[in-house]
């Protein structure tokens, strides 16, 4: 069985990080498994973790009073779930559910935040990587906002 530092090192989000850094992050992580339809995170609950997805598929959802839950994005292996743990008030904006049986590494947020505070180089590296993730999500969201398929012509 591979260790958590090895598993993190294989994930694109943590690519090219030195082993010592992977060890540091891995010390805050543990292997988790979710059955299909299990809830990973709940909107408004404390954001005390983020998930490094290894297998399966996760649906990010928003609850709507009229239409019930609406899936706004699906993510899978190679993706990361959760950025709300980075900044106060450390609360989830959206919910997420396992659309398929899902395997991930859960990284404890308070643990990693403390290490980032102690080691600004690690903190900067983490924030650069999460900023890239947020940029990609923002671009994707803007594309969805354009509603490109709404009025296309034959």
């Amino acid at each position: 069985m591979r260790s958590i530092p090895e598993l993190l090192g294989e994930h694109p989000f943590f690519a090219d990080l030195p082993d010592e850094t992977l060890e540091l992050i891995a010390a805050c992580g543990r292997n988790v498994h979710f059955d299909q339809d299990a809830r990973l995170i709940t909107a408004n609950a404390p954001a005390d973790v983020f998930y490094v997805l290894r297998r399966g598929k996760v649906a990010v959802e928003v609850d709507t009073p009229q239409r019930g839950p609406l899936v706004i994005e699906t993510i899978g292996p190679g993706d990361l779930l959760g950025v709300s743990w980075l900044l106060p008030p450390y609360r989830w904006t959206f919910g997420a559910r396992a659309a398929e049986a899902t395997g991930a590494i859960a990284v404890d947020a308070a643990c990693l935040r403390a290490k980032c505070d102690d080691d600004p180089a690690l903190g900067y590296e983490m924030f650069k990587r999460f900023a890239g993730l947020v940029r990609d999500r923002l671009q994707a969201t803007r594309l969805q906002l354009v509603d490109v398929y709404g009025n296309d012509e034959p």
Partner: protein
């Protein structure tokens, strides 16, 4: 290996190979010019979506020359007007055209019933010319109604499956309900010799497919970027981002083909209505390679 194409469970569109290779010069015997429509009869009509209909057309008299995938015809709704509609299939002499109701002409075409007569001028424009990508992985990306012009590529590819490498079809749509050709997509998705991935902008939890933008599917499409050709069709904004993500994978820009569809009018490169930069898209397009298309995608439609 050549696999038979699964037939559609519902609706009159049956699929079959589109002739590969050069387009035979049609037997123009009557001297009808390219501005004169030939008479066609509606032999099938399927409501794909609330505002979208697929018509099957056969010639009443003299037929237009055989079209190739990627080309378009000008369809006349008599007494109303004419609109450019891309080919979504051609089998046994039956033209398939998928039309969305967006104005008076397309509205009249969508309302046509079996037995009605429609005028056809064409075929016009550059085709996809799939055979130029023989031996390579084929990445097809369709957004919204863009699946209509992509469909003939899939049919041609499956009819000559052994001539190509991996086949990947990526589809983006607004919602699961707005997916065109759903039965056919399900049949293709069930095949072992092609990959079909569908993503929508939003969905209820019942939807088991992907949710997100189509570019995310490109990032993980199982192709060899050094030996892949991409064919992209959809709204221009979507094509721009989809093509960019194909290039980000390392695919040669000259191997990325887009179908640019601006307002065609005369369809013979005469009137200039569809002019985009130095191109008259009705004859220099609609299928254009990325190096030619890229600077033009920033030009607004008039």
């Amino acid at each position: 290996m050549t696999s038979p194409e699964p037939s559609l469970p519902a609706g009159p569109i049956t699929s079959g190979p589109i002739p590969a290779g050069p387009i035979p010069a049609g037997p123009i015997t009557s001297g009808l010019g390219p501005m004169t429509p030939r008479m066609y009869r509606v032999v099938s009509r399927r409501e794909d979506l609330g505002d979208t209909v697929t018509l099957g057309l056969v010639p009443v008299g003299e037929a237009c020359p055989d079209p190739s995938s990627g080309q378009f015809n000008m369809l006349w709704a008599f007494g109303v007007g004419e609109a450019p509609i891309s080919l979504s299939g051609f089998e046994n002499g039956v033209l398939s055209h998928t039309v969305r109701r967006v104005g008076a002409v397309t509205g009249a075409l969508c309302s046509a019933t079996i037995g009605d007569q429609i005028g056809v001028r064409g075929p016009f424009g550059t085709g996809w010319n799939l055979s130029r990508a023989a031996g390579r992985d084929i990445l097809m990306i369709a957004g919204g109604l863009g699946i209509a012009p992509i469909r003939p590529i899939v049919i041609e590819l499956l009819a000559h499956r052994a001539d190509y490498g991996r086949a990947v079809l990526l589809i983006g749509a607004r919602t699961p309900d707005s997916l065109l050709y759903r039965d056919q997509l399900e049949a293709w998705r069930g095949r072992f010799d092609m990959e079909v991935e569908i993503t929508v902008d939003a969905a209820s939890p019942v939807w088991r497919g992907e949710v997100g933008v189509v570019t995310r599917l490109v990032e993980r499409a199982p192709i060899d970027p050094d030996n892949a050709t991409a064919f992209v069709c959809g709204p221009e904004v979507m094509m721009r981002f989809a093509a960019q993500s194909v290039l980000d994978r390392g695919v040669d820009p000259a191997e990325v083909w887009l179908s640019l569809e601006r307002n065609m009018h005369c369809a013979v490169g005469h009137c200039g209505r569809c002019q985009l930069g130095s191109l008259f898209l009705c004859k220099d397009g609609p299928v254009v390679s990325w190096p030619r298309a890229e600077p033009l995608l920033r030009v607004r439609e008039r």
